[in-house]
Amino acid sequence: MLTAVGSLAMLGVTFGTLLGIASRYLRVDENPLEAELEALLPGSQCGQCGFAGCKQAASALAAGQAKPTLCPPGGRALAAALAERLGVSVDLSDTEELEPEVAFVNEDICIGCMRCLQDCSSDALVGGPKQIHTVITDICHGCGKCAKVCPTEAIEMRPVPITLANWHWHKPDPRQYMN
């Protein structure tokens, strides 16, 4: 009885000591996860995820309080990148691939109130007081804030127009396959 207890205790102490030494030598410093996640996020502070900005979203992600699919402008690519960094797997088939949109000003209704200009985080709207505003499509990231504040509903979100510069071949129709 005593030998049994003794030898088990001895084994436990031995392994415990060895593991303790090992953990000292193999210590890993935690990466600044939050900063890395924030760098991945678009940084346009659009707030579509429900958090105040990208930094807040990053800390929620790091704390495991948000899903990697939280960012609509980032789409599937970002969700996959976030999931990989977090070491979790996500089902991307559910995430709707949002068609990228840009703001469009209906020039007949715009009254030149300048409210949208103040709300645009990337200065994509230009125009003066009482002058019709216009959108620089190239830097509009489609957050839709301007459309919400426009008092005359002159701004709507439209899909990015297809031009000769961004057109590409569509995927072959799978129904055409195997028949």
Binding site: P161, I162, W169, H170, N179
Partner: protein, 358 residues
Amino acid sequence: MTVTVGLSAPYAHAPTSIRRTMGLVLLALLPATLYNAGLFGWPAVNLFVVTVLAALATEAVCLRLAGKPLFPPLTDGSAVLTGWLLAMSLPPWAPWWIGAVGGFIGIAIGKHAFGGLGQNVFNPAMVARVALLISFPVPMTLFVAPRPLSSADAPGFLEGLAITFGGRLDLDAVSAASALGHVKTELSRGVPVDQTLSQHQDWIATLLGAVPGSLGETSAVLLLAGGLFLIAKRIITWHVPVSLMGTLFVLGSVTSLIDPGRYPDGLFHLLTGATLLGAFFIATDLVTSPVTREGQIIYGIGIGALTFVIRTWAGYPEGMAFAVLLMNAATPLIDRYVRPRVFGRTSKGEPLSAKRKR
């Protein structure tokens, strides 16, 4: 703005199709099949027909279950080929249910469970053959001596039906061992290999195929001719058959030189069992073999070596089917690691340096 456009270039196509590929393979198999049908008589013909029909019927049922159209898959020749190859690897006088069960296993489990043509990872015919061999070892190892249709003791048509469908087979009267099996049994009885061979091996008969063996595996000359025809037609390339048979021959020759009493020689390995059928028709199965030439050489060497190992040291006299399945399993890994070098890149995928080579 949505833009609908049709198909992109190229608007030219080589005169190739799956049906043509499969059709040529069947054509290449035809001489050996006809010869062996004559050699083993009506029971062999019955078994062959049952196996091919079972494969086709299973294919039709599986396509229907999967909700896919029956045509062209049913007529592209792939199911017929599976059934055909399976039939050729069965003992010629085996009962009908062996062929039926085999055809079902090959097509349903070996092919359609994975999603049908092109999706399977194992050769369907060999899946069926191995499953049958392990499940029904007795009928699967019962070989008969050749009884050509022209000869007097060949069973007639009705007698053939009785043998295949009625199980009327007088075992002792007809059974004969295949060369590989014979060598193995004799060795286990303490008779050295070289002695067995010198007594019983008729090389001319082996070459022509008038020896006991599987339904379509015996005729070395005709199988070789069919294989060369496929190479000439560019359906298969020389890489798998040559590396496979080369490995088998070298291993057989070397071990035989070391201990002729224990190991049969390289030529014996080449001309007996499933070697030729396997090397030209089974191992070259497009779906389950590697896609690069270099990969195909590795694959062929693997099958040759594993066949040799199983024939020589394991319990079964013939190892080709097992070896094919094992290398099928390794094929995705081979395809993953053996790739051509991309133009303008190193073999690791980094762009070449623009340093001028003058």
